[in-house]
Amino acid sequence: MKILGVNPFGFNLFGKKLVTEASQSFTFGRRAFFLGGAQTAVGAMLISRMGWIAIAENEKYELLSESNRVNLTITPPRRGWIVDRRGLPLASNRTNFRVDIIPDRFQNRERVLGELTSLLKLDPNVVDRINEDLDKAAGFQPVQVADDLSYEQYAALSVRLSEFPGVAPAQGFSRFYPAGPSVGHLIGYVGAPSAEDYQKTKDPLLITPGFKLGKQGLEKSLDHNLTGKPGARRVEVTARGKIVRDLATRPDTPGHSVRLTIDAGLQEFAGRRLGEQSGAVVIMDCQTGDILCSTSMPSFDPNSFSGGISHLEWQMLSEDDHVPLRNKTLAGLYPPGSTVKPMIALSFLEAGLAPTETVVCTGGLRVGNRVFHCHRRGGHGTVNMHRAIEQSCNIYFYYFAQKIGMDVIAAMARRLGLGQKFDLPFPSQSYGTVPDPAWKKKKYDQDWQTYDTVNATIGQGYMLVNPTQMCVMAARLATGRDLKPHFIHDGKRHEGASMGIPLDHLTVIRNAMKDVVNGGGTGRAARLDIPGVMIAGKTGTAQVNALSSSGRGNAGRPFRFRDHALFQGFAPHDNPRYAIFTIVEHGGHLNRIQDAPMISGDCMTYLYDPAKAMEKLHEFEKGWGGTPQQRLERQLNEFRIAKGLAIAQPILDNATNAGTPANSAVSEHAADTAEAGEPRGEDAQSTEIPREPSPVTANPAAGSASPPALTPQQPPEVQ
């Protein structure tokens, strides 16, 4: 059996053909031809392969070649400034030197980190943080080694850069807040974008070292405006990363500057004037609705956030019972207390109550089965509207409120801005509550009770408002116009429209408020020492819980159970220009100097005579241990010691100034004020290190806004 000439049983490897020279030569010819053909075929195949790579896939490889060759570096845009109404910077930029590590290119971690530590004198904590960051670094995200280096350090590192692959020194800008803590809540702060921010947009700018996002306050709300367009630097690099030449550099476009309605000097003054208290001051221009000052204290130093806040400082701030991390002006809600009484009186007038109607205050009034007391146990006797406001008589309001009803009061409260949402550029705001029967039904499914009305007339119970709303109320009471608060200076006057409140009604209220301060009322501490300018206002005390209404005085209670002290008002009383609201949280009226009325009065004084107000403040600050910035630093230092993390180090070093006449004079005053103020045992040494008063000029635009906290080595000025 044969298949195709092959014998299956004895397979012949070599075939059976007889080979002759001629046949072999023929075979050679055929095979050589085949070989030549095969070579040509391979040649053709190579050409087509090349065509595939070079023409069909040209675009892909062109791109790869470009991305090899060109290294694009993004330069973060300079952030727009935030300036006050006169153009003074509240947030600016300053050049800083920075060092980052690009984890992808980083080699020999142990050695290089060791060298960097000694070169830049890094703290062991910082080294731990870098190691931690490097461990979880995603490769693309640069890890910051150090920020705010001195030029010498920066230069020393730059010289030795070739030894540290993956270490990238950079020159950039960091945010700088000249006024420090007093603008903390208002301006907010910036920080490096988080990984989540990057995941959301995949914007390469977000992972550029040195780029900062607004994280809080106006920095966050106005972020879009403030962030400019990034610059870019395209360089040609070799495979080893050496830069061959610059291809193109596009400078960054700085962000827009934002002009605020804030008066930097006033803002800082108010912050400092709040002293050691936890509180807020909001001041509004009655002609325009401009917010001149929106201060919440104590505060944090936004400068410490812009470079990444230390864990310790954060811990200290979050543990503080004065809640320095809450913006009290917009996110703090308080019972307004008696400060609502002028508003309630106005609603009475609207409802037809004659201002001459009287009630006899005996110190208490039975409502249902409960007796509600006046703050003066003995009673005020016969009280009309004027006297009720002036003396803050509760009984008058209890009595007429029951007759007139809550709906009228609530409508007026809302008309004047309480519980209202204003379109303000702040990320977190609380709007509070103006209760009425419908609200209570909806919220608690309970009927409105008479005692609810009674509570609301003295600004207690369900009523909760934020300080900005209270300032709006003061401004609307002062003008009768529906002024709205503004933070952004847009060059327009937002005078507001008349609210249709008869002038004679307003006059009754204003006169009563004038006498609260300038007559025999409860707010005498707010009196101004400015010729021809009288402040009109209303004080308030807001009980925090049931315990505070018990017989024990404020001083005997723990801090968090003490009453809030409040003050709202405007000046001048006859032609209102500025409206103010001040709250001292848990102040309990224990300290006259640091109580709401006097703080309000001094802030108003600053508007008319900055020099005078500053002089008074300097005296006070000697007793308080310096400016908020200094106290914050000392507090941090004490906190560090308490945590056993550091040895006490004097933060303020004014030893060179000791013994100068100015200082000895200062010390005496400091002792006086310390006596007048709250007893402060732990601050005994603080009188030894007083701050030098900064030069204060009569013109608030020029000198007063310069933050003294930033020029600690200023020569002493004898006054």
Binding site: L13, F14, G15, K17, L18, V19, T20, E21, A22, Q24, S25, T27, F28, G29, R31, A32, F33, L35, G36, Q39, T40, V42, G43, L46, I47, R49, M50, G51, I53, A54, I55, E57, N58, K60, Y61, E62, L64, S65, E66, N68, R69, E236, V237, T238, A239, R240, V244
Partner: protein, 371 residues
């Protein structure tokens, strides 16, 4: 033909067409090396053109040797190179991780290069001695197998996969041309395909890695696949007309490794594009066609086998190198003739040219005529 300038007969009879082709390729190679050096004659372009000139003279000298000398010395040369290969194993210096060189004091001697020529000569000589009727017997196979196997294994253990396969392919080509039964080649081709996985496990780790990376260079673009990735980027980004002379970025910015030696084609293609690449490949193919024509026009058994075998050796250089730079073969370190900088490979190729030229000159007078 009328000539205005009288040219001596000796010079006029030189193969000007061939030399023009070689010269053109070598000059183009030098131009590329000039660019690869960042626009400098030194260190590569000048040396390359100098070597080419020297080796061209050498080739001309070889072409004028008596053909019988080449025929008679074929086996002795093979023996000498084989001994040198064994010496390399014993005393060779270490270069690039593998033993390939003997330092002769004045130059680095690389016997495996010469083996590429010697194997062709030796196998061809064997078949010219073998009585024709025995072509299809076992006698025609095993001696050739030994002749090829010995040096191929020696080179493989150096280890130099590229050269070993060139020696193997060169010898096999001569066997193929000698008229061994076709089924033998088909059968062993299938057998090789079957044992490749086994052979793979015997390769050095770095060779295995190269083969694996070749299958998927993008899997490790920064590591072992770097060579092929960057080479493809260079070729691909050249496009149709290239980026222009001295404008290649892949080579000038050091992204392309070995841009003046094994990957010189990528350097060229980046600047001269598809156009330059096609012209170069066509020119090299013309050279191969010349070699194969010499083989086909020769009646002498030894001579035509040598011509065909040596042409195939040159072809193997070209094919392996180009497939490598275009990502179709693993990175094995075979240079591109006339283009890659280096003396050894040019010497080998010019030896091949010289011997083929010798055959071309003498084919009219060679014996063994059967027609």
């Amino acid at each position: 033909m009328n000539r205005l300038v009288p040219v001596p007969e000796v010079i006029a009879r030189l193969p000007w067409g061939l030399y023009a082709l070689l010269g053109a390729i070598a000059c183009f190679g030098s131009i590329v090396l000039f660019s690869a050096a960042g626009g400098h004659i030194m260190p590569w372009a000048g040396m390359q053109i100098f070597r080419f000139s020297v080796f061209l003279v050498m080739a001309e000298v070889i072409s004028r040797l008596p053909h019988s000398l080449i025929r008679m010395s074929a086996l002795p040369i093979y023996g000498a190179v084989l001994i040198a290969l064994i010496l390399v194993e014993l005393i060779g210096g270490v270069a690039g991780g593998s033993q390939r060189w003997i330092n002769l004091g004045f130059m680095q001697f690389q016997p495996s290069e010469f083996m590429k020529v010697a194997i062709v000569l030796a196998v061809a000589r064997f078949y010219s001695i073998l009585p024709i009727p025995q072509t299809r017997t076992m006698t025609a196979i095993w001696p050739a197998g030994v002749l090829i196997g010995f040096p191929a294994v020696l080179v493989l253990i150096q280890p130099d996969l590229g050269t070993a396969s060139m020696i193997g392919f060169g010898g096999l080509t001569v066997m193929f041309l000698a008229g061994l039964p076709l089924r033998l080649f088909v059968g062993s081709g299938l057998a090789v395909a079957a044992i490749i996985p086994v052979a793979f496990s015997f390769l050095h780790e770095y060779q295995q890695k190269r083969v694996l990376i070749f299958m998927d260079p993008e899997s490790d673009p920064l590591g072992a696949g770097y060579h092929i990735s960057q080479s493809k980027i260079a070729i691909g980004s050249g496009g149709l007309f290239g980026k222009g002379f001295l404008n290649g970025t892949q080579s000038h910015l050091d992204y392309l490794p070995e841009g003046h030696t094994d990957f010189v084609f990528a350097t060229m293609a980046e600047e001269w594009g598809m156009l330059g690449g096609t012209l170069l490949i066509v020119a090299l193919m013309l050279l191969l066609r010349w070699g194969m024509r010499v083989a086909q026009q020769t009646d002498d058994r030894f001579a035509r086998l040598v011509a065909g075998g040596l042409t195939t050796t040159i072809f193997l250089y070209i094919a392996i190198n180009l497939m490598m730079v275009m990502g179709m073969a693993p990175v094995v370190g075979i240079p591109l003739p006339f283009m890659s900088y280096g003396g050894s490979s040019m010497l080998t190729v010019m030896l091949c040219i010289g011997i083929i030229r010798n055959i071309d000159r003498n084919r009219e007078t060679l014996g063994d005529r059967w027609r």
